[in-house]
Symmetry: C2
Subunit: 343 residues, 2 copies
C-alpha cells in the first residue's frame, strides 16, 4: 500500500514508539513524534532516522497535557492519524503514585483527544495492554473476555479504553484501534534501538540481559510454585518489531476501510513461555550464564497469560513472525552494543 | 461540635453545593467556594450569605482544572478539607459529549487532588452517585454491591471513586468520604435557594414544578410498564437539606476520628417512591394540577432504585429526616418565589 500519510506518534522516542516509527517509515508513512522524554532519549530518534535513511525525524519535545503545543502540532502538520504511546507504564510505581498515572495517562489522553477533535483528526491507534484482562479465567485470552484491573496502571489503560468506546458511540466517524499488547521484548535487528529502562528494569527481558552482561549478579524469579509446567509464570512474549508492524497493519486496515471503526485486538503470539524458558533461551542466544534464584511471588502477578491472536489475523492481516530465538538474539545484540542504553 | 475549620467547597454555587454551604455554616464551619459558574449563578452564594447571616461567602470564580488558581486558594486559605461537588451531571449530555465529562469530572478531580497533595490537604468528601450501582440485582442497595456504569457520566463517577481508592491505598493518611447520593430534591425551607437547571430540566422534580407553574403543558413519564407498584420507575428521593447535612456529618466523623479513613456511604432515605407518587404528592403540596402522559421508556433507565441507609446512620450518625410532603412543599415554595430561578 503506497501512502505518504502523516502519523503523529506520541511517546515515539520510547521503546515501542521508536520501533513503530521505523516500521511506519518502511511502509511509506511519514512520522512526526511528540515525546516529553520523561522516560526516553532523543538519541533513539536519531537512530530511527539512521535505520530508515532519513535526515531526521520531525520531533516536538513536550507533553500531551499541553493543549497549546498540541494545537501548534496539528496546525503545522497535516496529521492523518495519531498512534498514542505516551504514558507511564510501571505497575509498582503506579501503586505508589496513582495520581501521576491518572494525570499522565488518563487526563493526558483526554487532552490529546480533545485536541484531535478540535482539528478534525479522528483516527487513533491506542497502546493498550493485556493487563486489562486482569486474572483471566482461562487461556488463550480472547478479546471478548471480561475486563478488570488490579493496579492504577491497569486501571488507567481500562479507563482510556472506556473513554474511547464512549467517544466512538458519540461519534461513529472516529476510527479507533485498541491494541492490547502482551509482553513486548527484543529489539530492532540492527541493534541500534531497543529497550532502555531508567534504573532497575521492571520487566523480565531487560533484567535478564543485564544479568547476562554482569551488571546484576542474578535474576530474582518471583514465584516457583505457580500451576504451570515448571512453576514459574507464563507469558506471551512478542518481538517488538512484530508489535510495531501490528500498528502499521491497523492503520492500513483503516485506510482500506474494510474493518469496523472500533477495533479491539490482541497483539500476541499465542505462545506462552515460562520465566525459566526465557532464561534458558537467553543463555543460549547470548552464550552467557544467567544465574537466577526463585524468590517469593510478587503481589498482583498471575500464573499464566497468553493471547488468542486469531482476530488480529482475521481483521488486520497481522501475525507475529519472529520466534523466541530471534527475541533473545536481538535483545542480546542491542544490549551488547549498548550496555548503557542510549547514554 | 464547635469548630471554625475552613472547608473548600468546589461547585459550591450549585444546587447541592449551596445547600451544603448553609449547613456547614450552621454547624460552625467556615466555607470558601470555588465554582466556574458553568451551570450555576453567583446569586446563590449571595443568598447563602443572607440565610446564614454572613456578609458574604468567600468565592473564587474559576475551574478545578486550573492548577495556578488552586495553588493560590490553598496558599491564601487554611483549608481543613475539600467537599468536591464540581462536575458535569447530565446523563444524556454525557453520551453526546463524553470528552467534556472526562475532562471536567475525571481530569478535573485529578487536578484538584494533586493540588491538595501539594498543599498537604488530605481530607476530601466526594460527591458520588447511586448511578455507580448500575442496574442493581436487588433493592435496597447496600454499599458492597457490585459497581458498574451505563453512560459516561456514571463512568466518570466510578473512575473518580477508583482513583480515590488508589490514592487511599498509596497513602492511608488521606481521609476520603465517597457519598453516593440517591435522588436529591427539594429546596431550603426559606425558599431562597433551590435547584435552578439551565434549559429543560433533566430531573423529575424541577420538571414537575415547571408543569405546576404552567411553564410546560404536561410531564412525560418515561415508561408505565416497569415491574413496580404502578408501572412507573421507583427512586429514593432525598431532601437536599438532609443530603447537605450528610456532608457535615461526614466531616464531623473525620474530626472525631472514629470512622475508617475511607468511607463509602449511601445517602438516601431507604424509601422508594414512583413517578406517579411524586406527581400526586406535588399536586397536593402545590394545590396545582400536574398533567402527565405515559410515554416510551428512556434508554438506560432502571425500574427501581433505593438505598439501604443503615451504614450512614451507624458510621456518621446521619439519617434523612424530611418526608415527601416537605420535599414537595419546599420545591414548590422555591419554584413559586423564583419562577425564573436565580435570573
Amino acid at each position: 500500500m503506497q501512502t505518504t500519510k502523516k502519523i503523529l506518534v506520541t511517546g515515539g522516542a520510547g521503546y515501542i514508539g521508536s520501533h513503530t516509527c521505523v516500521e511506519l517509515l518502511a511502509a511509506g508513512f511519514q512520522v512526526v513524534v511528540l515525546d516529553n522524554l520523561c522516560n526516553s532519549s532523543p538519541e533513539s530518534l536519531r537512530r530511527v532516522a539512521e535505520i530508515s535513511g532519513q535526515a531526521s525525524i520531525p520531533f516536538y519535545e513536550g507533553d500531551i497535557r499541553d493543549p497549546v503545543l498540541l494545537d501548534r502540532i496539528f496546525k503545522e502538520q497535516a496529521i492523518y492519524s495519531v498512534i498514542h504511546f505516551a504514558g507511564l507504564k510501571a505497575v509498582g510505581e503506579s501503586v505508589e503514585k496513582p495520581l501521576e498515572y491518572y494525570d499522565n495517562n488518563v487526563a493526558g489522553t483526554v487532552s490529546l483527544l480533545q485536541a484531535m477533535q478540535r482539528h478534525g483528526v479522528r483516527n487513533i491507534v491506542f497502546s493498550s495492554s493485556a493487563t486489562v484482562y486482569g486474572d483471566p479465567h482461562t487461556t488463550p485470552i480472547q478479546e471478548h473476555f471480561p475486563l478488570s484491573a488490579t493496579n492504577p496502571y491497569g486501571r488507567s489503560k481500562l479507563m482510556i479504553e472506556e473513554m474511547l468506546g464512549d467517544l466512538y458511540k458519540a461519534d461513529p466517524a472516529w476510527k479507533i484501534a485498541l491494541l492490547r499488547y502482551f509482553n513486548p521484548v527484543g529489539a530492532h535487528e540492527s541493534g541500534k534501538i531497543g529497550e532502555d529502562p531508567q534504573g532497575v528494569p521492571n520487566n523480565l527481558m531487560p533484567y535478564i540481559a543485564r544479568v547476562a552482561v554482569g551488571q546484576y549478579e542474578y535474576l530474582s524469579v518471583f514465584g516457583g510454585d505457580y500451576p504451570t509446567q515448571d512453576g514459574t509464570g507464563v507469558r506471551d512474549y512478542i518481538h517488538v518489531v512484530d508489535l510495531a508492524k501490528g500498528h502499521v497493519k491497523a492503520l492500513e486496515a483503516f485506510l482500506r476501510g474494510d474493518v469496523p471503526n472500533l477495533l479491539l485486538i490482541n497483539l500476541g503470539t499465542g505462545q506462552g513461555y515460562s520465566v525459566l524458558d526465557m532464561v534458558k533461551a537467553f543463555a543460549e542466544a547470548s552464550g552467557r550464564e544467567v544465574p537466577y534464584r526463585i524468590v517469593a511471588r510478587r503481589a498482583g502477578d498471575i500464573a499464566c497469560c497468553y493471547a488468542d491472536p486469531a482476530l488480529a489475523e482475521q481483521l488486520i492481516h497481522w501475525k507475529a513472525e519472529k520466534n523466541l530465538v530471534e527475541m533473545c538474539q536481538d535483545t542480546w545484540h542491542w544490549q551488547k552494543h549498548n550496555p548503557q542504553g542510549y547514554n
